[in-house]
Amino acid sequence: MIAFVLRRLLWAIPTLFAVVTLSFVLMRFTPGGPFNADQALAPAVLENLKRAYRLDQPLIVQYGDYLARLLQGDLGPSYSYRDFTVTELFARALPYSLQIGGAALVLALTVGVGLGALAAKRQGSALDAAVTTLAGLGVTVPSFVIAPLLSLVFAVWLGWLPAAGWGQGAFAYKILPVVALALPQIAAFARLTRAATIEALKADHIRTARAYGLPEWRVTAQALRAAGGPALSYLGPAAAALLTGSVVVETIFGIPGVGRYFVLGALNRDYALVMGTVVLVAVFIVAFNVVVDLAYALLDPRIRHD
């Protein structure tokens, strides 16, 4: 088991390294630069700026610089937010995204898996039909549509909740963004869990468990354990996506999270900010993939020997 964990962690290092290298190269070969403003800068000013940020060095030197700093946990100065380092920007914005995303993740996992399992147990019932339909809709309707619709209904028409803003972290301000983020994921988890549980309930070991007279909830638990696979493999990307912020939801609800930095960084060719977001997301994804693989191994011992 320990060997398995170590092997997965070791795989993570070259993956991260490849991601950093690839995006560094991609970013640099994209036309434009961080100082291409609407008003052209004087050549001397441009020279000085480039020198100040060491952009006048050969690419390989810059790459080495970046890696060396990265290993010390320094993401470098932002080019578009001139007075901040990327680390400072993230330190300020990440807590918002983590709060909203974490809450959405917990909500999506519990409600989604719960609904999916319930629907599978009562296959063919009205509840099953409702869950299937809603999950189908939820998978198709993106947060892009859900977020403004929620805002329209609950903030503009009913006036129950604030339409946007952070409100010093007041609970009411978080409800709509969390729900908007979670709904598509709830649908996805419910769908995956329902399909897998239906399959799992047909398995021989479930029939055996029933024959032994185990209480129904323990039979269901057994089936869920076998059915966890698809939901689990979806958990990795879902968690990384939720926790690193959604540009759409953060824009619509006016939340100062990290989501917008993805877009702003790439649009402004803010090399350091772009690389920072890449590293941030990559770390999340790789970390969650390792966690998911471990959970897989816990659920299904056969995997460890593969």
Partner: protein
């Protein structure tokens, strides 16, 4: 002789044809297919039938709510004509409207220049205006013409453009994008996943590590780089988007391949001396058609959404051309005053995507060999 004919000797045709046959007896699936075809046909033909070009700006009808009543409303006619005439320094004395025709008495300090008609024509409310008779040496006249009655079934946007026409024009873009990028992702994903899963070993390791690396790149970052690089070349851009949407497909196809290649029928085929490539093409790939189709129906909405997301950032379709996503983004910005700008495009969008999804589900059931 293939295993398909062994399994069902009475029926002819390949797996796909029989699945379609089963879909034909499924009312829900057919309804979804019908809805999808209807939306596609509407978007394809609608813009030619619509009285409003999607980029025609009606300055007089900005943000009007959806209604069956034609515009202009009677009460606004007098003001509209008065202000149009005022630009030509001509005064409106009286206005009478009979059905679609109007007659106005006008007067000016100077003899009336017929060019004042241009101001009347330019107003969205009137057309075919002409000076019927002039009096007082041309200082007063009768103006005749037609009231230009137009309907905005779904209202207009903040620039006074007909929303229905824009939704239909945007639908063309969104559907074309969905189709193009999904096909691209399907081809790459299936080929990559099937080869990785079937060959296995070191090849599999390397191929899936590449997928992992691409996975770990933030998607938005890749897309924005692509947009910046490919610029405004629409088709190329969405081929490129399809070319990065294939990762999920590759993973799923690989998983299915791994599962299928251990099955008895593959061993049987191998024992009968069927070549490796034929096993993959004839025995493994057809068995995952259902999974692939279902996943493709999940990819299409994702791609359509991605395009809309880019439009939202101002990187996608360029104005005045539009797409459903761009329309929804505009609607999301004007919830307070004009919810119809969000509701109608969202309804088209959701209906199309839901139909795609239901169709995918039903197709999967139709392809499922257990349901035979």
């Amino acid at each position: 002789m293939t295993d398909a004919t062994l399994a069902a000797p009475a029926r002819r045709g390949g797996l796909g044809w029989r699945a379609l046959g089963r879909l034909r007896r499924d009312p829900v699936g057919l309804a979804a297919l019908g809805l999808l075809l209807a939306v596609a046909a509407l978007c394809l033909v609608g813009p030619w039938l619509s009285p409003h070009p999607y980029d025609r700006v009606y300055r007089s009808y900005v943000l009007v709510p959806p209604s069956l009543q034609p515009y202009p409303q009677e009460a606004t006619l007098e003001d509209a004509l008065r202000s149009a005439l005022a630009r030509g320094r001509v005064e409106l004395k009286s206005l009478s409207v009979y059905g679609d025709r109007f007659r106005a008495e006008i007067a000016g300090a100077e003899p009336i220049d017929p060019r004042v008609l241009r101001y009347v024509e330019r107003a969205d409310e009137f057309r075919n205006a002409r000076l019927a008779e002039t009096r007082d040496g041309g200082r007063s006249a009768s103006l005749e013409g037609e009231v230009n009655r137009v309907r905005f079934l779904m209202g207009t946007d903040a620039n006074g453009r007909d929303l229905l026409a824009r939704i239909l024009a945007g639908g063309r873009v969104s559907l074309a994008v969905g189709l193009l990028a999904t096909l691209t992702s399907l081809v790459i994903g299936v080929a990559w996943g099937a080869v990785a899963g079937f060959v296995g070993g070191r090849t599999d390791d390397v191929m899936m590590r590449i997928v992992d690396v691409l996975y770990a790149l933030p998607f938005v970052f890749l897309v924005i780089l692509l947009v910046v690089t490919f610029g405004r070349n629409f088709a190329l851009l969405f081929l490129a988007i399809g070319a990065i949407e294939w990762l999920d497909m590759a993973r799923i196809v690989r998983g299915e391949t791994l599962r299928l290649k251990r099955r008895e029928f593959v061993q049987a085929a191998r024992a009968l001396g069927v070549s490796e490539s034929r096993i993959l093409l004839r025995h493994i790939l057809p068995n995952m058609v259902g999974t692939v189709v279902v996943f493709a129906t999940l990819t299409a909405p994702k791609v359509i959404l991605l395009e809309s997301f880019l439009s939202f950032l101002g990187l996608g379709v360029q104005a005045p051309l539009t797409s459903w996503g761009a329309l929804i983004a505009q609607g999301a910005g004007s919830l307070q005053g004009a919810p119809h700008l969000l509701l109608f495009p969202a309804a088209f969008f959701v209906a199309t995507l839901a139909a795609l999804n239901v169709l995918g589900d039903r197709l999967r059931d139709a392809f499922d060999p257990k349901g035979r």
